[in-house]
């Protein structure tokens, strides 16, 4: 599939900005930003993106919980969700994949190759 629009969810404004620049300037994707799980659910429900990049550790509602909420929405059942996290121990990765994530990207990520990484992950997923 080709990606046009991305919803980037992270409680860190700097990371949101870096991600936005990386995907807009490097991959020319349409990037929307959410600073929390509930905001992400709201935005996604308003306009379903091609892909959601979801931070794991967020105050209040964390990434995995947000994923569950997103999946409850009509139209978001199959939207690919990729976690972005600093915690990439194997058992954690396994847990995210079991929740239905399309993949995991480790922080710190390389903004210049972030889009390529995403495309590769989506391609690997049938």
């Amino acid at each position: 599939m080709s990606v046009r629009s991305v919803l980037l969810v992270d409680d860190e404004p700097d990371i949101r900005r870096i991600g936005q620049l990386a995907l807009q300037r490097v991959a020319k994707w349409d990037v929307r930003l959410a600073s929390s799980g509930p905001e992400a659910v709201q935005l996604a429900a308003a306009a379903v993106p091609d892909l959601i990049l979801l931070d794991v550790m967020m105050p209040g509602v964390d990434g995995p919980t947000t994923l569950v909420k997103l999946r409850e929405l009509e139209g978001l059942k199959t939207t690919p969700v990729i976690f972005m996290t600093a915690k990439v121990q194997r058992h954690e990765v396994d847990r995210y994949l079991a929740l239905g994530a399309a993949g995991v990207i480790a922080k710190p990520f390389d903004p210049m190759t972030l889009a390529t990484q995403i495309v590769e992950l989506l391609a690997a997923k049938p």
């Binding site: 860190e12 700097d14 991600g19 915690k87 058992h91 710190p108 990520f109 390389d110 903004p111 210049m112």
Partner: protein, 767 residues
């Protein structure tokens, strides 16, 4: 008139009886002699008359029908008084016989001549006569008298022969009696060692039967250690030399050892040794008693325990116990040494308070033996000492007392007890007998009050521990397992129902490699566990908190340097690049520290699968070709491994990547890096060859130590964290492999590691 009795009548009769000739049948030899006597003297009657107590009996007679006459009318009763021929030429003219019925009566004796029967050397009166009788008066010629004397000697010789035979017979009977009924062992043995004769005692003592005898030689019967002496003895005997009494050991049929003493001599015939004759006495019991006596004396002397014997002088008064004996050990005991002859209260007055004199008295009067433990009192020198005694009855109102000084033992035991009980950890010491010593903390661990009597048995303690656990059954099973193979130290963790985590450490108490008790140590490691948990959480948080700003910094720098957000040029770009490189380095440092932390805690999970070493290496070189090209270094894989290794692909790639990256970094431009694969027994050998400057010998040991980076000789920035090789080493070791380096300065280095093959890891092959 009848003849007077001889003065030695009694012994005369005894001699007669000893001949055992009275009332025996006639004998032709004697009949011939009296026939000759009658012929020589030309008389009708001749007799061998034996004068009994009240008769004369004729052993041989001629010319007379009667076999005996009364002694009081016998001519012979007169003849036996003398030693010469007794002649009555005409009885009618002799006042002694003129009225004798044999003279006056039908027989009408006129002439009598009798020679007393005397054995050579015999004194006193004779037992009878050889006599001739006629019915008319006669005078014997000299030659007739001589003939009668000669014939008398023949009679005496004949009777003597008879007496000797009789004696011999008696002696034989006596001898047989001695042989058969004596307790001495008698044997005659041929010079070849064969038994010719043995007596009944010999058979009975040694347990052989007459049927055994033909197969036996004397050496079968003599104990082997006495064979040499026996051979010497026989040689001496056969040579006719005198031999001293013998002291030797016979071996009975059942192997019983019979100690004997005896004498042996040798019987010679014509100067030739015919047989040896031995007579022995069984002295086994006597010897055993002697041995026992010596042993008793020696044991008493050498006994490390003090032995004292008291005599109860007055059976109603225990103060009358008087010391009558003490052995050397007792003499060495300063408490009562040298007190023989003194009374118990004078010797050790302390005993009275302990009730011992009363006990000794009851035992001296025949009471049962008693052992008394833990007798303790202060000596005159003021030292506290303890003893164990054993008092036992002895004959004659005596009591023996064995005294063992247990002061040292008791001290040691109480020191140990104090040590264990006071230990600042929960310790249980279980002795072989199953008694238990527990420290104060052990009771606290179980929340029990302190009475030491509560847990006196180990199974009870084990049960209490198991009961406190969440998994009681598992705890029990593991403890039982430890005790089935108690020779090694073992540790496990117990999770108590109240949430505490207890580390249980087992240590066998070994004496000469044999286990003589158990030591269990319990440590409450709840706090440590909690700290570990907090550390994990901290590490996790730190990693997140550090990485989040790093993500922004590195992302921003990369966007800047890439130019996507506008051009950055000249020195500004250079500065951005410096910030970027160091940001990468910081990121890797955080990763490596977290990785090592995980490795140290043993919490790194390895996902092992069968891996093709060549494929893994090739994939890696593909991924690193760009880096190699940048460094102008060629990178290739050589060799193959014929078996797969069992390893975590991700981790081993990480190890190999680290070695290869280092190799590229340290190789000069135009150099080469080779990954060489080879088989080793049960393993695969990975070697990364570089063409770098090599590593001095003295620095090789430090390579795998944390934060040890070698100086880059060419000054190029290498950008490592100093943790790569330390991590590689930990990873390889956790795979059950080895890692190392070979290098010579100027000739490059070879970093290698080896991993077990799948078959070796599964135990199918051994190295």
């Amino acid at each position: 008139m009848s003849a007077p009795l001889p003065s030695d009548e009694e012994s005369r009769l005894a001699r007669l009886r000893a001949l055992a000739v009275l009332d025996t049948p006639t004998e032709p030899e004697l009949d011939d002699i009296i026939a000759l006597a009658a012929a020589v003297c030309d008389v009708p009657i001749a007799l061998v008359s034996l004068v009994d107590a009240d008769r004369q009996w004729f052993k041989a007679r001629r010319g007379l029908v009667a076999t005996e006459t009364s002694r009081d009318i016998a001519f012979c009763a007169h003849a036996i008084h003398g030693s010469e021929l007794f002649v009555v030429e005409d009885a009618t003219l002799d006042a002694r016989f003129s009225e004798n019925p044999l003279v006056r009566g039908e027989l009408g004796i006129r002439f009598y001549a009798g020679i007393p029967l005397r054995f050579e050397g015999e004194e006193g009166s004779a037992i009878g006569t050889l006599c001739v009788i006629d019915r008319k008066p006669r005078i014997l010629t000299e030659s007739q008298r001589d003939a009668l004397s000669a014939l008398c000697r023949q009679v005496v010789a004949h009777l003597g022969e008879r007496r000797r035979g009789r004696l011999l017979e008696e002696r034989t009977v006596q001898l047989q009696d001695i042989l058969d009924n004596g307790s001495d062992l008698i044997q005659t043995v041929s010079p070849e060692g064969k038994f010719l004769f043995v007596n009944r005692a010999w058979f009975e003592t040694l347990g052989f039967t007459p049927a055994d005898l033909p197969q036996l030689t004397m050496f079968d019967v003599i104990a082997p250690e006495h064979h040499a002496a026996a051979r010497k003895l026989v040689a001496k005997l056969v040579a006719g030399e005198e031999t001293p009494p013998i002291d030797t050991v016979f071996i009975g049929k059942t192997g019983r050892r019979v100690h004997v003493e005896g004498v042996v001599d040798c019987h010679f015939v014509d100067g030739k040794a015919e047989h040896t004759r031995g007579i022995f006495r069984d002295v086994s019991e006597q010897r055993a008693a002697e041995v026992e006596k010596s042993l008793y004396a020696e044991i008493t002397r050498a006994l490390p325990l003090a032995l004292r014997i008291y005599h109860l002088d007055d059976e109603d008064d225990d103060a009358s116990l008087r010391l009558v004996f003490e052995n050397p050990a007792a003499e060495g005991d300063a408490i009562a040494a040298g007190s023989v002859g003194r009374k118990i209260d004078e010797i050790v007055p302390q005993l009275r308070a302990l009730g011992l004199p009363a006990l000794y008295r009851s035992i001296a009067l025949g009471g049962p033996a008693r052992t008394v433990d833990g007798i303790g009192f202060r000596t005159r020198e003021g030292q506290m000492k303890t003893w164990t005694i054993r008092a036992f009855p002895l004959p004659g109102r005596q009591v023996g007392v064995l005294i063992q000084n247990t002061t040292e033992r008791v001290l040691l035991a109480s020191r140990l007890e104090t040590l264990v009980r006071g230990l600042q950890s929960a310790v249980v010491l279980v002795t072989e007998e199953g008694t238990l010593l527990a420290s104060r903390l052990f009771y606290e661990l179980l929340g029990l009050p302190r009475p030491s009597t509560l847990l006196t048995e180990f199974p009870e303690a084990l049960r209490r521990i198991a009961d406190a656990c969440r998994d009681s059954e598992g705890c029990r099973v593991r403890a039982a397992k430890v005790l089935t193979a108690p020779s090694v130290r073992q540790t496990d963790e117990l999770l108590f129902a109240d949430g505490r985590v207890i580390e249980r450490d087992y240590l066998p108490i070994l004496v000469h490699d044999r286990e003589h008790g158990h030591l269990w140590m319990y440590r409450d490691i709840s706090e440590r566990k909690e700290l570990e948990r907090m550390k994990d959480e901290f590490v996790s948080t730190v990693s997140h908190e550090l990485r989040t700003p790093l993500t922004s910094v590195s992302g921003a720098l990369k966007l800047l340097s890439s130019g996507v957000v506008g051009d950055v040029v000249s020195e500004r770009l250079e500065l951005v690049r410096i910030a970027e490189v160091n940001c990468d380095r910081l990121t890797r440092l955080i990763d490596d520290i977290l990785e090592l932390e995980k490795l140290d805690a043993g919490r790194l999970e390895l996902h092992r699968t069968a891996l093709d070493a060549h494929l893994l290496s090739s994939k890696l070189t593909d991924a690193l070709q760009a880096t190699a090209k940048l460094a102008e270094v060629s990178l290739l894989v050589e060799g193959k491994a014929s078996e797969d290794v069992l390893a975590d692909g991700h981790r081993i790639t990480q190890v190999l990547a680290n070695l290869v990256s280092n190799a590229i970094k340290f190789s000069p431009r135009g150099g080469s890096v080779r990954i060489c694969l080879a088989d080793r027994p049960g393993r695969v050998h990975f070697a990364v060859h570089d063409s770098g400057p090599g590593i001095p010998m003295d620095k090789r040991d430090r390579l795998f130590v944390r934060f040890q980076q070698l100086d880059a000789t060419d000054g190029r920035p290498k950008g490592g964290t100093g943790l790569g090789l330390a991590i590689a080493k930990e990873l390889v070791v956790q795979h059950g492999g080895d890692i190392g380096v070979e290098s010579s300065p100027g000739a490059g280095s070879v970093f290698w590691f080896e991993l077990p093959t799948v078959r070796a890891a599964n135990g199918e092959v051994t190295r």
